[in-house]
Amino acid sequence: MSFFAWVELIASGLITGGVYALVALGLNLQYGLMRILNIAHGEFLMVGAFLTWWMQSQFGFSPLLMLPVSFGLLMALGLAVHFLCFRRLTVTSPNLDIFEARGLMVAFGLMFLVQNFVSWQWGGDLRGYDYLTDPVRLGGAQFAGNKLLVFGLALAFSLGLIVLLRMTLLGKGVRALMQSPVGAQLVGIDTRRLHPLMFGIGLGLSGVAGCLLSMSYTISPSMGEPYTVTALIVITLGGFGSMGGALAGGLLLGVVEAVGMHYTNPSMKALLSYTVFIAVLLLRPEGLFTRRTRKA
């Protein structure tokens, strides 16, 4: 294999990896902060993708314009979902374990609800549109323009979130809540405002990811579930609650999949990622990149 073929292979892995990272960051925010394992996360990605496709094909909106719109809409949806379901769940659950189990069940319910609503509304066909399909030459390697754009934007949003969490006071509050919920509340961090906000931002990010995906891939109502599973794999790779880990894990998984598929065959893809997932969960449940800290 020539040098440029390698570059193209790795780059295509990085491009899918960028989207994985973006999806995983949103899920990680929800799980790390609130212990809501939102199994319906990929469904909201699908909603974002369908919204973009629908606006593009009906009214001719540019997909780029739809980025902030789908972020805003999905964030509003997230606030509503949090207000209707998880707020009550937090109040009524006696302890965190029970909250986690019930939250998982509610998320399953959301998954059924959203997925079937979309396929009821728009039908189960594969959809897609053309956007920036001309190839771009970089050095000796060739890429589709839309994929480069997807990668760039996914990376920009991921880094934006990480910067937000590292640099601002809001981010400091979030990180404090992740470290110790009780301690954070003692120093005056308002969980009742921060939790819905972060849930909304998580869903908004998945809406952005869906919007980006619709630019270069075909979409269908069942596209969400594989992304949920991938996001789960990525956050186990990176460690629950670790944002930098999720970014690195997403890119790594993309490259591993691309290289693995090149050497075996495409039907191995699911098998490969599930094997990685189970192996990591069983052997290093605290994540690949975290240093071993004290065990409770």
Partner: protein, 338 residues
Amino acid sequence: MNDRQLLVRDLLVWFGLTGWALAIPGFGSDFVVSMALTCLMYVALSSSWGLFCGSTRYLSLATSAFFGVGAYTSALMLESAGWVESIALGSLVATAVAVLMGAAVLHLRGTYFAVLTFGMTELIRHAITYFEKSVTGTVGRVLAVVPERDTIYLTVLALASATVLLSIAIRRTRFGLALVGIGADEQRAQTLGVNTRLVKIAGFALTAAVAGAVGAAMSVRWTYIDPQTVFNPFIGFQTVLIALIGGATTLWGPLIAAVVFSLLAETLRLAAPQVYMMTLGLLLILSVLYLPGGLASLRWDTWKGWRDDTRAWWRERRHEWSGRKAREKRLARERRLG
């Protein structure tokens, strides 16, 4: 009611229901029998799920794995072995898978356990698909020898009623108490001398044995099976859903919910499959939020509680919207300041 009276009541109900279900093929049409068959399948699956997962609070999503393994085994064996042998074998293979899986993952609790069992189910499904694609070259298999309708029905009925009888019996044994003890507080159970590891694996294997047997018996209903149908994660989800909505820790809850769901599924699924799934999702959310104990915990007081809650909420809203709340707040502030 004391324990003895409860036992007598449960046994009488069990006896009556079994007898009634036994009579269905005698007078029902094909449609009714097939509906009853689905119903019985979910009774067996969700009762056996509740037996282990309900009492220990380990949320397993692996039911479809055991179901599929059982179905595949019986599909492979049916041509060379008899009907009863292939079902027994299917159940045995599923049990073996459960013991292996349990030994690997049962030390993890909560979400980790749920996610891992789901991941392993998917892994098994993809592994079998891959194996069929690349080694045997064909995906799925056709079942040529199929027993009669009544044989399948009676077999599934026997499995369902045996499962219910098993859960009546087990909750009165040391083993059942150990399971409940693990659910309440695992460390305390350990301190009191329960070998939790062994008990958990045994319970998990019991669930799998029933699910495997049901899968083996139901596989012939499709006449053509592939990993997509028999390892369908939806079978596992719906089992969990039925058990949770009915009340996972109770005896009759899963049974009531299974009947309700089969009726709902048959009436809604043909007309509008998506609406059925949406109803399912909505019901799940509502039942987790407002009825965490399940349908079986529904009492007269629950209704009264809801009514009182709604009234209190409405009074609060009226208080707020009429502007009295804001006025009272203002008055209180003025009084404090002045």
